[in-house]
Symmetry: C2
Subunit: 217 residues, 2 copies
């Protein structure tokens, strides 16, 4: 049985690994988990003896299958709870992450699966992130970043990277939500900001905003 801390390390390593597709460095984990590298080293040694990942001094870590299974289980719970909070308890999408950080550590497969059923086996969470099923499988649909979208093509907003509450609130304020139809009109050469048409209204969003919006492809 893993502790909450161990689960958080495994989950974070999985996420970094998925993005970078390389061995995960001590420092990158420390930054994400807001701890010191020395603390991370200690934990990596422990997780290695628990056979959840392979660790070589100075070379970073790589999750093995056991570690990946645990990561997917925690992510599954996180996203199911976020969905529950939004769909059943009427939370907004910028309020759910912190609470899900707690709920993702509740240990009961029966609870997780009943919750899944209660929600109608959702495939994506309120931020458009895929929800792994009971076997840890999920279909990751191909999405395209707003910055890469062809001019004048309309597409549907399906996923948000950087689910910080500040960013999510910004989107809500501008009536940009999962499911919104977005058309890109013009990319400003100077600062890479983008003119977009959303809900028949034209607005300009900065490059850093555009980079976090992903659409159907």
């Amino acid at each position: 049985m893993l502790t909450k801390t161990e689960e958080n390390y495994i989950k974070e390593i999985f996420t970094i690994e998925t993005i970078t597709k390389k061995d995960v460095s001590t420092n990158s984990i420390a930054k994400k988990l807001d701890t010191k590298p020395s603390t991370v080293t200690d934990m990596l040694k422990k997780l290695a003896t628990k056979k959840l990942l392979s660790y070589q001094k100075y070379k970073g870590v790589k999750l093995n299958n056991k570690g990946k299974t645990i990561a997917l289980s925690v992510i599954r719970k996180h996203r199911l709870w976020e969905t529950f909070l939004v769909k059943k308890l009427n939370f907004s999408w910028d309020e759910v992450h912190e609470i899900a950080e707690q709920l993702e550590h509740i240990k009961s497969d029966k609870l997780t699966n009943r919750l899944d059923q209660f929600l109608g086996f959702p495939t994506v969470d309120p931020h458009g992130d895929p929800i792994p099923n009971a076997n840890g499988e999920f279909t990751k649909t191909k999405t395209i970043c707003l910055t890469k979208l062809t001019i004048n093509t309309e597409s549907i907003f399906v996923e948000v990277k950087n689910a910080s509450d500040k960013f999510l609130k910004y989107l809500s304020k501008n009536n940009i939500a999962i499911g919104s139809k977005i058309k890109i009109l013009y990319i400003e050469e100077f600062d890479n900001s983008v003119d977009i048409l959303v809900n028949n209204k034209q607005i300009n969003v900065s490059e850093s905003v555009a980079k976090n919006i992903y659409l159907n492809n």
Copy 2:
């Protein structure tokens, strides 16, 4: 912010205090929490410095208002989650306690209150225990133990003491549930077992069973 462990101590002290109506002894806490008395002493000192209870060496402890408020908040969450599990996720009443032991430590007033609303502001949990409202208030209805019921009077089963899963399963097996109409027919002098009529069927239950069944008064 209290740790899970601290919350469990506070909750247990509250429960013992409610039953015994006396200062709570170190040993009684140790037994209930399955720890050693020396461990309890350390924790009592800590909780005293945090001003949640008054502690005098060798004299036991008594929760103050701050401590009681915390206890009621944890109990509220525990019973709301049990209700959620039974009413919304179709768990049986003997499966929910362990999961609620985890969920009761989730920290978010908004979540607790939204859950309360989602459930329709229930006043009792699946075992007939009262659920404190957002202000920590609850109405404790007067109940009478099956052993004290007048012969041939019918009454409704409203609360179960000793919510161990074994006991709850025993009741379910005999079709005795919260809401069941029970009439007491005869008390056996020899072993204090009781003949009762439940759902038009006569059965005999032992004294230790009868002692844990409480009915409307």
